[in-house]
Symmetry: C2
Subunit: 222 residues, 2 copies
Amino acid sequence: MNKVMFNLKNEKIPRATITRLALYVQQLEALEQKGEKVISSEKLAQECGVNPSQIRKDLAYFGEFGVRGVGYYIYELKEAIKKSLGLDRVWNVVLVGVGNLGRALLRHNVLRKRGFVIVGAFDCDPFKIGEEVAGLEVFCSSTLPDKIQELNAEIGIITTPPERAQRAANYLIKGGIKGIVNFAPTRISAPENIVVEYVDFINHLFSTAFQISLNQSKGLYI
Amino acid sequence: MNKVMFNLKNEKIPRATITRLALYVQQLEALEQKGEKVISSEKLAQECGVNPSQIRKDLAYFGEFGVRGVGYYIYELKEAIKKSLGLDRVWNVVLVGVGNLGRALLRHNVLRKRGFVIVGAFDCDPFKIGEEVAGLEVFCSSTLPDKIQELNAEIGIITTPPERAQRAANYLIKGGIKGIVNFAPTRISAPENIVVEYVDFINHLFSTAFQISLNQSKGLYI
DNA sequence: ATGATAGTGTGAAATTTTTAACAAATACTT
DNA sequence: AAGTATTTGTTAAAAATTTCACACTATCAT
Ligand SMILES: NC(=O)c1ccc[n+]([C@@H]2O[C@H](COP(=O)([O-])OP(=O)(O)OC[C@H]3O[C@@H](n4cnc5c(N)ncnc54)[C@H](O)[C@@H]3O)[C@@H](O)[C@H]2O)c1
Ligand SMILES: NC(=O)c1ccc[n+]([C@@H]2O[C@H](COP(=O)([O-])OP(=O)(O)OC[C@H]3O[C@@H](n4cnc5c(N)ncnc54)[C@H](O)[C@@H]3O)[C@@H](O)[C@H]2O)c1
């Protein structure tokens, strides 16, 4: 289910580590904004709700970023993590499916702040083609293969209905995309060398409902 | 980081199992729509991109739903999973923060199809209060405590900016909410007996970028 | 300097999660 | 009715991940 990832020493890196690194970056940024300069794994762990050793272990995959007896310099750690993940540059992204979710993402400037710039928006609905959303003209999705090259995009986000996700993926693949983030609740097939990630929030609602049911059966709410 | 969950036999249930169960439900529904009646763990595993034993193990936490030598009856398995997770009923949900993402979720009827009905939308922006989105009037978020009771809501979705997430959470908690799904990229504090789930897609983009970088360093795209 | 305190990096231990293997149960065939 | 095919549920083994524990380094106070 999960892709296997390696660092430069060719150690396998748990998928969970990547997820946590993203969390650390966010927390580090928040700390930076508060004017903090240094933080210990203990404190950062508290902020993130994880175990301190976990943080040190996660970081150890990529190098030594801390100072013993002191902690981590916040700015430097944040940059080090980003560099380790290949986020020390801009990634051009195209988005396919300018519906409710697609629009939300297009207007979401946190992506840009993180180095992901949406450079093209595509849809197949003639009513949507030509429209302008968040400063981008919506193009016909059949032009994707050419546009991907032209825009120099490496990542494609799919926000079409599930039954159209494979078609959208095919266009992206044809255009030479390197990675796909699929928000439609369906699996897609792609050549081995193309990275495919699935985003699905429904499981968080499932999980919440389940845990509430458990709490309820324990009489936690009476 | 992850909540510990138990089944009725008081076995600990991996968080990953819950995520996969959500995936199975989705695939089973897709199969049902194709008119299929029965499926083996082998086939379902293929569809979901997981190991067949994994599926059988995941299901074993909750009971015996298959028939040896035959497989699983699709409709029955789907219902059994949903029942196991407490999804055999409707969950009333309120949403706080009617911005880009909040609107997308309000208009997203897949939630309703899965038994999560958004019964109230709240914002603090006077320009948004009174507006109608997806058939719901937007209310002032300070009225949340009362409205939660009135609407009989058990789950709250937070889609405010991160710096407002705690405030939104406080309103929800005051109203006696049982679970919170937080889309804002920040941790929130809540009493022990309130379930809190964090949704964060940025990690999927991080992960995609990282994997592409790795592939690139392996010369996979030349 | 010296000692006390704080806090990283890491190998080993503990725990969790996944995968494999197979006995038990069903259906189908002759 | 016996034999063969399948395919589950479950136990055991393997693999992966998390946590612990502590040597080692830096800083600060005296
Ligand atoms: N809205 C949400 O909050 C939300 C949440 C989670 C997941 N999702 C998933 O995201 C996807 C989009 O959801 P939505 O609510 O935005 O749906 P939507 O119907 O509002 O938008 C889908 C868009 O995709 C376009 N489209 C369809 N086929 C296409 C194709 N082949 N090429 C290009 N564009 C195409 C449609 O014209 C439409 O504009 C769905 O798969 C949904 O399940 C949505
Ligand atoms: N837009 C996306 O695609 C996207 C994706 C991932 C995560 N997020 C996260 O989701 C959250 C919302 O994103 P958005 O793009 O919709 O932002 P947005 O600014 O469009 O919407 C935020 C809404 O919250 C309201 N709000 C602010 N404080 C509030 C309070 N105390 N009570 C009630 N309402 C309040 C605002 O009035 C506004 O309507 C952010 O935290 C963002 O990081 C958004």
